[in-house]
């Protein structure tokens, strides 16, 4: 995947997370912001984030791979998604 597509993908995930999980007043959410360990996205909400990723990228991520560590930042999420994009 080229750099431009990668950035687009990260932005798509980042914007979705900001829109769905983070209050409008929150600032400084970046590709490396801790999402799970910070409490922005809790373990229950991770399920809806997983559904979003699977729907959006037409992939299936095994539940064993959808761990709090793998979902902790936008960068990590995109790395994970890329493993399943054919």
């Amino acid at each position: 995947m080229d750099e431009k597509n990668l950035i687009e993908m990260k932005d798509l995930v980042l914007n979705y997370i900001i829109k769905e999980y983070i209050d409008e007043d929150e600032e400084k959410i970046t590709y490396d912001t801790a999402l799970i360990s910070s409490g922005y996205v809790d373990s229950f909400s991770m399920v809806s984030l997983l559904v979003f990723l699977e729907n959006k990228f037409k992939i299936k991520i095994p539940s064993s791979k959808a761990t709090p560590e793998a979902f902790n930042t936008v960068n990590k999420i995109v790395d994970l998604v890329n493993q399943y994009i054919k």
């Binding site: 769905e20 209050d23 409008e24 007043d25 929150e26 801790a34 799970i36 360990s37 910070s38 409490g39 922005y40 996205v41 809790d42 373990s43 229950f44 909400s45 399920v47 809806s48 559904v51 979003f52 699977e54 729907n55 709090p68 560590e69 902790n72």
Partner: protein, 567 residues
Amino acid sequence: MSNIGSYEDRLKNFAWSIAEDELDYKSGEIINIGWYCSDRICQKGKADKIALYYEGFEGNEKKFTFNDVRLASNTIGAFLKNLGLKNEDRVCLFMDRIPELYFAFLGVLKIGAVVQPLFSAFGDESLFVRLDNAQTRAIITQNKHLSKIRKIREKLPNLEFIIVVDQVRTKKTENREIGFSLEDTPPVEKFTIFPTKAESPSVLHYTSGTTGQPKGVKHVHYSLISQYLTTKWVLDLRDDDIYWCTADPGWVTGTSYGIIGPWSLGVTQCVLDSGFSAPAWYKFIEKYKVTMWYSAPTAIRSLMKAGDEVVKNYNLSSLRHLASVGEPLNSEAVIWSERIFGKQFHDTFWQTETGSIMITNYPGMKIKPGSMGKPFPGITGAIVDSKTFEPILETGKVGLIAFKPGWPAMMRTYWNNNEKYREKFVNGWYLSGDKATIDSDGYFWFIGRDDDVINTAGHLVSPFEVESALLEHPAVGESAVVAKPDEVNMEVVKAFITLKPGFTASSDLELEIMNFIRKKLSSLAMPQEIEYMDNLPKTRSGKIMRRVLHAREWGEEIGDISTLEND
């Protein structure tokens, strides 16, 4: 030697006056939890002892002595009093696990008002029904949660004050909002504490039932007696302990044993305000040299899932005693903890309504992995028949867990719902709503709920509440919500829905509905799975048969379906 010593001896010689004497409380005198957890500890010579080590998710570390806790709770109490808040007013705490939450809890109690703690992940609808039911006069919150309150405040005429503790970050205060910064407010050294008595209301926690709206469980200041003694004997807290209760004070464990228990004993506790991750938790234990750890089966199973290797990176030798609460602790978790930490987790059973630990495994007592243990001294617990409500003497026979009323921390009523409260007492027993058996050694063994309430990660979710919220989504025609088995959380919410004409089932719609419920109620209540149905199973009279769907999810026999409607 543990604090409880011999369980059998305690049973023989038990009286709640043991706690009253240790707390220097005499019947009829003033008893105020806010004072007991701060001023009294300072008077006992522990003013400079650390009460709280706090760590936020951004690595933000703070520590507070018992004198700091006393001053902070005085300052918040004085602020609330100056606003005109008074005894028995309901003051909601709607915050993450920041220090102000803990201090405000005591500050509200010090003015004689009733603390209404609510889980900060609640959505606006969950928040509204609880504030409306309690006719809450003030809410103390953070800027990050303000938008949820702004959505509902016009429907809450009793809510006069919206107090924002991180006002510095607030862009602009609106109607009824007041900024309050503890750091910028001069500490109040002397504060006249409201003279609450044993039966004065203290804490109002909300819990979910099978039907109807959430119920406000009213507790009183005398609950301290149970909470103090169970903390001492079950959690075995000692003066030099560093205690970590992982529960959020939005739930009863987080207040009974995350504030009242340890601080009434003058014990240092630590709080980690961040999401779960195995390395972060182990690092926290290592860093603060936690000695007593009170956690939940879901967290323990998550740690098990993270694997044994990660533990090896941390020195956890400080751990002395472990206990668990919220859901049944499976035997595998007990065996695992012994192998990994060299200590077994001790299961504790109790409820929002009981206010304190009722059945448990005691330090020094033989643990039968998977068992709930035995009733606390002073608690008469039994398994009663679900039809006659008479105690079942036969071992191994399933019945309802019941207790003889009268322990100090027992709820005093459901807020504005005395009728529901009375229904909890039958034939002289308080009925817990849970089922169990007793073995020949007197150990209780948990079986499950006696109703449809879903226990997900130790939190009760009402299927009715989720079904009602689902019906508010424009696409949903009918809904039925049941528990689905889950490896980590024990149960999760699963929804079955039919769609209104014009809507088509799709995974995008599923996601939309999941997020709709998450924002409206909470992430706990969000269905982890939604199944589209052409029709829901119903009785001939049109009532949805949840139990048919529940049985299907759990691979159980469906049972009598003679009343099932024919398609």
